[in-house]
């Protein structure tokens, strides 16, 4: 395929570039005329929202890194200096700090959307798996970012989480020493966490690129879970979904701004405003809220290695989800039993989050174990079995039929192009 691209753009400069490097044609195809199912609900905003959250995190992070000092003696003070003496430093830091929470909120809803509407099913398995890779990278990045202010929870969180690897037989202790760069969490640990916290976001960007590229091969799923059958089922991405995503972005920013400006420390832990002290262990060591469900699973297993394996397993199971679900029907709307089970899973994960925030005593242990059991039962047993036994409701003939009430004529303002990819 060597040869100049035949550009359709009129502007001479755009045309000159596009002929040699058809980025404008690509953008036009992928974000302009890209045929998108016409029946998205607002759950389909969350991919775009995640993209916005990611960009905000990277931009604020770059400016924070200009003023932050990754040294155990200076880190805490350098963060306070950002808060007090750097122009609008408090704004940049609060946007970054709460941005992590907003990013996870958005991504968790995005994942729920995928689960509920069966977006992980063929042909979108790889798309889903790339998403799970992004989730894992996000968790690592967030964890290392939380260590940087070098408060009490930073230090002890880092100690607890890195120590998890000591559960592995024989090599465990060596892995932990290797991770720390020494024999306890100390300056070398902080240095490498800072380095990796700066690196991983760009790895995330690269995987997001692959995630989006895969999406543009398969096309988007939709609330009905049936493939578009022709141009009457789709709309060009622009302006229909650019404007619909914009509405979502505005609402997202309102919630975000409310947190940043009026409750910037609401989701944080007060202990992290105490400088790290290896001699004093906080009464309770808890991770940030978005990691609590995994923490609950970890502590629900009486055996340390078992807990660690279950915790990693809770994410790894998502990789094989496309093959665990045996039902050919995607959307939960047409799967009455699955629908109940997946909603129960949402409640289950919220309960796990609550359990993770409490000391594992009394009823919390029982609740934690029950919730952990349901989590794995859902993926490993219920999904394969229900897919075989359940009788799905009748699927509609096409997307346009329920929307237009009978596959009516094309609307005047919607010049849907013939399908290029889906």
């Amino acid at each position: 395929m060597v040869g100049l691209h035949k550009s359709e753009f009129k502007n001479p400069l755009v045309r000159w570039i596009d002929t040699r490097l058809p980025v404008f044609t690509m953008m036009q195809n992928e974000y302009g005329s890209f045929p998108t199912p016409r029946n998205f609900n607002y759950f389909w905003n969350f991919g775009a929202l995640a993209m916005v959250a990611m960009m905000i995190m990277i931009i604020t992070g770059i400016f924070l890194a200009m003023n932050y000092v990754p040294n155990t003696a200076l880190a805490f003070d350098s963060v306070e200096r950002i808060m007090r003496d750097v122009n609008y430093g408090w704004l940049i830091r609060y946007v970054h700090m709460n941005g992590a929470s907003m990013f996870f909120v958005v991504v968790y809803i995005h994942i729920f959307r995928g689960l509920y509407y069966g977006s992980y099913k063929t042909p979108r398995e790889l798309l889903w798996m790339l998403g799970v890779v992004i989730l894992l990278l996000m968790m690592m990045t967030a964890f290392m970012g939380y260590v940087l202010p070098w408060g009490q929870m930073s230090y002890w969180g880092a100690t607890v989480i890195t120590n998890l690897f000591s559960a592995f037989p024989i090599v465990g202790k060596s892995i932990v020493t290797w991770l720390w760069g020494g024999f306890s969490v100390d300056n070398p640990t902080l240095n490498r966490f800072f380095s990796l916290h700066y690196l991983l976001p760009f790895v995330i960007v690269a995987v997001v690129f692959l995630h989006v590229a895969a999406l543009h091969i398969t096309g988007s799923n939709n609330p009905l879970g049936i493939e578009p059958k022709g141009p009457q089922d789709t709309l060009p991405f622009h302006p229909y979904y650019t404007v619909k995503d914009s509405v979502g972005i505005c609402v997202f920013l309102i919630v975000y701004a409310a947190l940043v400006f009026f409750a910037p420390n609401f989701l944080g832990n007060p202990d992290n405003y105490i400088p790290a002290n290896p001699m004093v262990t906080p009464a309770e060591i808890v991770p940030e809220w978005y990691l609590l469900p995994y923490y609950a699973i970890l502590r629900s297993v009486p055996n340390k290695l078992g807990g660690v394996l279950m915790m990693f397993g809770s994410i790894l199971v998502l990789f094989v989800l496309p093959w665990l679900d045996t039902s050919p029907v995607r959307s939960a709307r047409f799967r009455p039993i699955f629908r109940q089970l997946v909603l129960l899973l949402v409640i289950d994960v919220i309960v796990l989050g609550d359990v993770g925030a409490h000391r594992p005593e009394g009823w919390w242990v029982v609740v934690g174990r029950l919730a952990t059991t349901y989590y794995f039962l859902f993926f490993l047993v219920l999904l394969p079995v229900v897919g075989k036994l359940e009788r799905p409701l009748k699927l509609p003939d096409s997307i346009s039929k329920p929307v237009l009430g009978g596959g009516g004529p094309l609307p005047g303002g919607a010049p849907a192009k013939p399908m290029e990819k889906a």
Partner: protein, 256 residues
């Protein structure tokens, strides 16, 4: 269709979880007294007169044991002190001034650009002077405690004789609100601990309120600017959301 119950279910579960967490936390310790703070709420600002009285208490009481390392004397402009007042306050303390021509360390009067002077040279000295307990740095103390300003206020007014059945460790005081109820810090404030120059009656409650207002300001000196900016930004975003939604409705009107 059947999407409303779904949303309700999830919202309900989330709220339920949140309430359970809050309830569990509250049950741990004595309920904190509710104080009306000038700085609470989305339009709250610091009561500067109160913060200045609080600074007086910090100078005369707290700073004998507690450091406030993140603050500079120049920051006191934020509670409404004038440049001359700040110069005088800074000059009233001696700070390390580098070395003289013979290489001997010297002391000089403080300047507005200096950090608040710490009462002890290091943590060990602080512990030695306080029966082994380390008085925490007060720069961000208001953010570093569960309950924030309410907790600090409660701690100031929570001293009493221990219950008859409680065995106290030597040198420890009883405080209703301190975790474990045994605190190494003797009751710092009493009625009339300081003389206010503005005629305010220095009751224990008034002093506690003033010093906590000062500590809250010290922890988040940007709060007023932050909230004022937040109001503007949220109003702007509401307007933008309305406009965007109107555009969306118009664009989609021929699709539905």
């Amino acid at each position: 269709m059947r999407r409303i119950p779904l949303a309700r279910l999830i919202l309900g579960a989330a709220l339920g979880g949140l309430l359970a967490t809050t309830a569990a936390r509250a049950a741990d310790d004595a309920k904190l007294p509710k104080v009306e703070w000038s700085f609470s709420g989305p339009f709250g600002t610091y009561d500067l007169a109160s913060a200045q009285r609080g600074f007086l208490i910090y100078q005369q009481v707290c700073s004998n044991c507690h450091s406030m390392n993140q603050l500079y004397y120049r920051n006191l402009e934020g509670i409404g002190l004038t440049e001359d007042q700040i110069k005088a306050i800074a000059a009233s303390v001696q700070v390390p001034g580098g070395v003289d021509d013979n290489g001997q360390p010297i002391q000089r009067p403080g300047r507005p650009a200096d950090h608040f002077r710490a009462p002890f040279a290091n943590d060990q000295a602080a512990r030695a002077a306080n029966g082994g307990a380390l008085p925490p740095d007060q720069s961000v103390l208001e953010l570093a405690r569960e309950g924030g300003a309410d907790y600090l206020y409660a701690l100031m007014v929570g001293y009493s004789d221990p219950p008859a059945d409680m065995k106290m460790q030597p040198g420890m005081m009883y405080n209703k609100y301190f975790p474990g109820h045994q605190i190494a810090m003797p009751q710092p404030l009493q009625d009339g601990s300081v003389q206010y120059t503005d005629g305010t009656k220095p009751s224990l409650e008034q002093e506690a309120k003033d010093v906590v207002t000062f500590l809250a300001w010290a922890a988040e000196p940007e709060m007023v600017e932050r909230k004022q900016m937040g109001v503007k930004i949220i109003l702007f975003l509401l307007l933008l959301t309305g406009l965007t939604y109107a555009v969306k409705r118009k664009l989609w009107s021929d699709v539905h």
